[in-house]
């Protein structure tokens, strides 16, 4: 298995945000979703950089919608998860789960879904 097929942490976060947002996944919403859920400051540039990388790997697809006035006449770029992306995030989850299995660490550690 090529190295590129493992997902990095931020890639996982972005993909999960994409899944959560379903039909409304574009730059601004993805960024807000991540910030809201992780409490982590995220720049729009970092989001796009990751999305472009994921697109290149064939995990996500994107298309331009019609321009809107509230965006100063600029089009939204919507993203959707591709089958390859969904199996990749699945794999990442299984990998982490199997690593955690049987470990007893202090505190309430339940993997999030």
């Amino acid at each position: 298995m090529a190295k590129g097929e493992y997902l990095g942490e931020f890639e996982q976060i972005v993909l999960l945000a994409l899944i959560r947002l379903a039909d409304n996944a574009y730059g601004m919403t993805i960024r807000q979703e991540i910030e809201k859920r992780t409490g982590r400051y995220v720049s729009i540039g970092a989001v796009y950089a990751t999305l472009d990388r994921l697109e290149k790997k064939g995990y996500v697809d994107s298309w331009l919608a019609d321009p809107t006035a509230e965006r100063g006449g600029r089009a939204k770029r919507y993203f959707e998860l591709l089958p390859a992306g969904s199996s990749a995030i699945q794999r990442s989850k299984e990998m982490l789960t199997s690593m955690w299995e049987g470990l007893d660490v202090d505190g309430d550690l339940t993997p999030q879904t």
Partner: protein
């Protein structure tokens, strides 16, 4: 709506714009402004929202600069700007190898243009642009005098004036005298005459150059006339094999032993004057003799140069020179003061050294830049044609997400790559070109040996290449930027979306080329016609079958006038005995190489008020000089043996003097005297009138000429002339033997036939003509290739139209006419513009023309006709091809 009133910070936006590709910018800017207006401003207020916006932008710059933010959809390999550049270059190279024909033609054209420009620049750089080989050479000036009654040009000065200037100037750090002299070098191989220069003891110091070995002269050596010498680096190497013990050696000059005290560095050269062929091989102290010091107001034969004190301007130096000359004049007898009207003059050393060659070299450089421009427009035209056929490729790339900027950058890379390869070939061509150029150049250009490819020339070639790349790349790249991918793709297989604009631009290029080529051709035409005129000039003597050689007697052995005269009388007698010698004579100067002038006044002549003095070229002769040289006797008689033996004040004048002063009377028996009317010289009686001869170059004005017999003075240098019935070449060695039979240590120098002498006088003109002709020929070739290319392209473009026309019944002649009309229209416009341009440009050539006006109608018409014919041919070939179009194939091809 209130929230829309708040605009995100413009500067942050601009930053974002700079860092991102336009598409990525659109997405991100849209997201940011939506969030800014919809959420951040209502929640946190404008100030905090702006700060948030800034933070977002700044934190996005990193990924953007690392190229992590791509354009959408197309999976592209990302890299640093350097990688992008390399990728573009690789791609460019691939594209160039894909179209080998186009690449080869472009490269040859560029190599020609850049090579010629580089070669010419290296000469200009070597000769004109490098500073003279002295310290702060801009402060070095020549001190001269002006005799407005005699000549307008500043002239050298008498020996006593050099000393006065050394003592009485206020503007100079120091003043040194100098005088180029020829000396016989004996004791090393066979005797030779070398070029030396006398120079004052402080001369090297004023020039600011220290000897490489040893020392310069001391004031003591100079003043007491000691026999010491400083060698040039070349002399040290060639005559002494670079021997390290050179400072303990002596050298025999003019039969005296000179102690070698120093060797100058290799780059040192003095005197550097464009009128003298080369600088001195060695230097000896000025050491003025008592006779020289006493010759007040006579022999304007000594050079003087000085270093201006810092801060002294040329006008100040000029004023100082004038005041020194005033002082000199005040010491003279009253009648001289009036007659001479002497003034001081200052000439920057650099002007004197390079003045004569500056404008021809710069004109050649301008000519070669014309050729370069034509070459560059040619390549631009090719590029446009190719750009047209590549338009679909570009449109596809842009449709796939490449930005216009990106495509333009790519094209520029490709063009500059082409230009650089052309430049490398050009430098190689220029390297050879420089060698050819240097070997062709007449010897009168100083410092030519210093011409070579150095980093400045390479830098120049690089700049020219990049400039060419930018120029011929700009138009196609700009068109690419404006490529409308929609239209290009929709047109399917057909190329040519910018039909009209392209055509206009290409037409402009062709018109420019034709105009530039015409200007060059007219320049070349004028020079050729001048050369023709010069060849037609009658030199006034018959140069065929005459061989000459120069003999100079050293004053050590030949210290008495009788000895000198005896030697030459004997020599002429000896040479007469050479088998095949028909006439033998000798003269102080040969035609075309005359330097001696006399001021004369005919008896009873009343000059009109304000007139200058009459000056004539002058020669002292012996033997059958006039017969040997073939100068015709017009009236009276030649000198008799008695007149050669004893000075009876007989003089022979040239026809022009007879015509000017004795138009209605017999000049024979009339008298004239040297100097002004008041001079104490005896009257000279005119015994004969001979034809005028050319004293300087063939294209220079003929001066009046006076001749006296050898008995009129003491002349240690004479030129022997021998006329033979057939080829004179074999006579040369016999001449040398005759001299050696009288004195085995005497060299005979400058053994040449008079035909060679004439040939040498043509050399600079021939060089200029050949060079301009080569440039003009290249220009014509390039321009016709350009025209041909445009026509051929237009035929390809209009194949369908032609097919339709022929299907509709157009005859071949109609098609031919239609195609040729456009090409010839371009030619006519180009010729018209070029003709107007030539009227202005050829004026710069005035100084180089002879017997032809800069606006010579015959040349203009002839050249336009030649260019028209070539253009006709360049149009005809593609147009003829158009008539061969098969309507069926043409229509089906769509």
């Amino acid at each position: 709506m209130r929230r829309l009133d708040h605009r995100p910070p413009a500067l942050a936006d601009f930053l974002l714009y700079l860092c991102l590709s336009p598409r990525a910018y659109n997405c991100i800017r849209g997201d940011l402004s939506e969030e800014f207006n919809k959420m951040v401003v209502p929640a946190f207020g404008v100030r905090k929202a702006r700060r948030w916006y800034w933070l977002q932008v700044i934190r996005s710059i990193g990924p953007a600069l690392r190229g992590e933010i791509a354009c959408i959809r197309v999976a592209k390999k990302k890299g640093s700007p350097m990688e992008t550049l390399l990728r573009d270059l690789r791609f460019g190279l691939r594209m160039l190898t894909k179209t080998p024909g186009f690449t080869a033609v472009s490269l040859i054209t560029l190599a020609l243009g850049i090579g010629a420009t580089t070669a010419m620049f290296s000469v200009v750089n070597g000769v004109l642009l490098r500073p003279l080989p002295y310290k702060e050479s801009n402060r070095l000036v020549l001190i001269k005098e002006r005799l407005p009654k005699f000549t307008a040009e500043p002239i050298d000065i008498p020996a006593p004036d050099v000393i006065t200037f050394q003592q009485e100037n206020r503007a100079f750090e120091g003043v040194s005298g100098f005088q180029p002299v020829n000396m016989d070098l004996t004791g090393i191989g066979s005797p030779v005459r070398i070029g030396a220069a006398r120079i004052s003891w402080n001369g090297f110091q004023i020039l600011g150059v220290a000897p490489l070995l040893g020392r310069a002269f001391t004031a003591e050596e100079d003043n007491s006339g000691q026999y010491v010498t400083v060698l040039s680096y070349g002399t040290w190497q060639q005559k002494f094999g670079g021997s390290p013990d050179i400072l303990s050696r002596k050298i025999e000059l003019d039969r005296r032993q000179y102690q070698i005290v120093g060797v100058m560095p290799p780059e040192f050269a003095f005197p550097l004057q464009s009128t003298r062929i080369k600088s001195a091989d060695l230097w000896v102290p000025m050491s003025f003799s008592e006779t020289e010091k006493a010759a007040v107001g006579d022999n304007f034969d000594y050079g003087a140069f000085g270093r201006l004190k810092s801060g002294v301007t040329l006008p100040q130096a000029e004023a100082d020179a004038e005041s020194v000359v005033r002082h000199i004049v005040n010491q003279m007898p009253a009648k001289w003061q009036e007659a001479l009207e002497l003034h001081g003059a200052i000439v920057p050393l650099e002007t004197d050294a390079l003045g004569n060659v500056r404008s021809p070299l710069l004109i050649m450089l301008a000519a070669v830049i014309f050729v370069l421009l034509i070459a560059v427009t040619n390549v631009a035209n090719l590029m446009l044609a190719r750009g047209n056929s590549r338009q679909k490729e570009l449109a596809i790339r842009m449709a796939l997400g490449a930005s216009g900027r990106r495509v333009m950058f790519q094209l520029l890379c490709e063009n500059i790559l082409l230009a650089l390869i052309g430049g490398i070939l050009g430098v190689a061509a220029g390297f050879m070109g420089t060698k050819v150029l240097v070997s062709l150049v007449p010897a009168n250009i100083p410092r030519l040996e210093a011409t070579h490819l150095d980093y400045q020339v390479l830098l120049f070639a690089l700049l020219v290449s990049v400039f060419s790349g930018l120029v011929f790349g700009a138009a196609p790249a700009l068109f690419a930027l404006r490529t409308n991918m929609h239209d290009s793709l929709k047109e399917g297989g057909r190329s040519g979306g910018f039909g009209k604009q392209h055509k206009a631009l290409r037409s402009t290029f062709v018109v420019t080329q034709v105009a530039l080529a015409l200007i060059l051709l007219i320049g070349a035409g004028l020079l050729i016609r001048s050369f023709q005129r010069v060849l037609e000039v009658n030199p006034g003597f018959r140069p065929e079958h005459v061989v000459t050689g120069s003999v100079s007697l050293p004053s050590t052995q030949y210290d008495k006038p009788e000895k000198v005269k005896r030697f030459f009388v004997d020599l002429v007698e000896r040479v007469k005995r050479i088998p095949g010698a028909q006439y033998v004579g000798a003269s102080t100067d040969l035609p075309l190489n005359l330097s001696w002038t006399h001021i004369y006044t005919p008896e009873g002549y009343q000059p009109p008020p304000g007139a200058g003095m009459n000056s004539s070229a002058h020669s002292a002769v012996i033997g059958d000089y006039f017969e040997a040289m073939g100068i015709p006797l017009v009236r009276g008689r030649l000198f008799t043996p008695e007149e050669y033996a004893k000075d009876t004040h007989a003089v022979i004048i040239s026809e022009s003097i007879a015509k000017q002063f004795f138009p209605d009377q017999d000049p024979i028996g009339q008298r004239l005297k040297w100097g002004p009317e008041q001079s104490e010289d005896p009257w000279q009686t005119i015994v004969g009138v001979v034809g005028d001869v050319k004293q300087g170059a063939m294209d220079a004005k003929t001066m009046p000429h006076t001749y006296t017999p050898i008995s009129s003075g003491t002349f240690s240098l004479m030129n022997v002339a021998v006329r033979t019935p057939g080829d004179p070449a074999g006579t040369a060695s016999a001449l040398q033997s005759a001299v050696w039979s009288l004195d085995s240590q005497l060299p005979v120098t400058q053994i040449r036939t008079m035909e060679q002498v004439i040939g040498e006088s043509y050399a600079p003109r021939r060089f200029n003509m050949i060079l301009v002709l080569v440039f003009a020929g290249s220009a014509l070739l390039l321009a016709s290739v350009g025209l041909y290319g445009v026509m051929a392209y237009s035929v390809t473009q209009r194949t369908k139209e032609i097919g339709v026309r022929m299907a509709m019944g157009a005859q071949q002649a109609d098609i031919l006419r239609m195609m040729m009309r456009w090409g010839m229209l371009l030619t006519v416009i180009g010729v018209a513009i070029g003709t107007v341009g030539s009227f202005f440009v050829t004026r710069l050539l005035t100084d180089f023309l002879f017997g032809v006006k800069p606006s010579d109608a015959i040349t203009f018409a002839g050249v336009a006709a030649v260019l028209g014919l070539v253009a006709l041919l360049a149009c005809y070939i593609p147009a003829k091809r158009a008539t061969k179009v098969d309507p069926m194939i043409a229509l089906r091809s769509e």
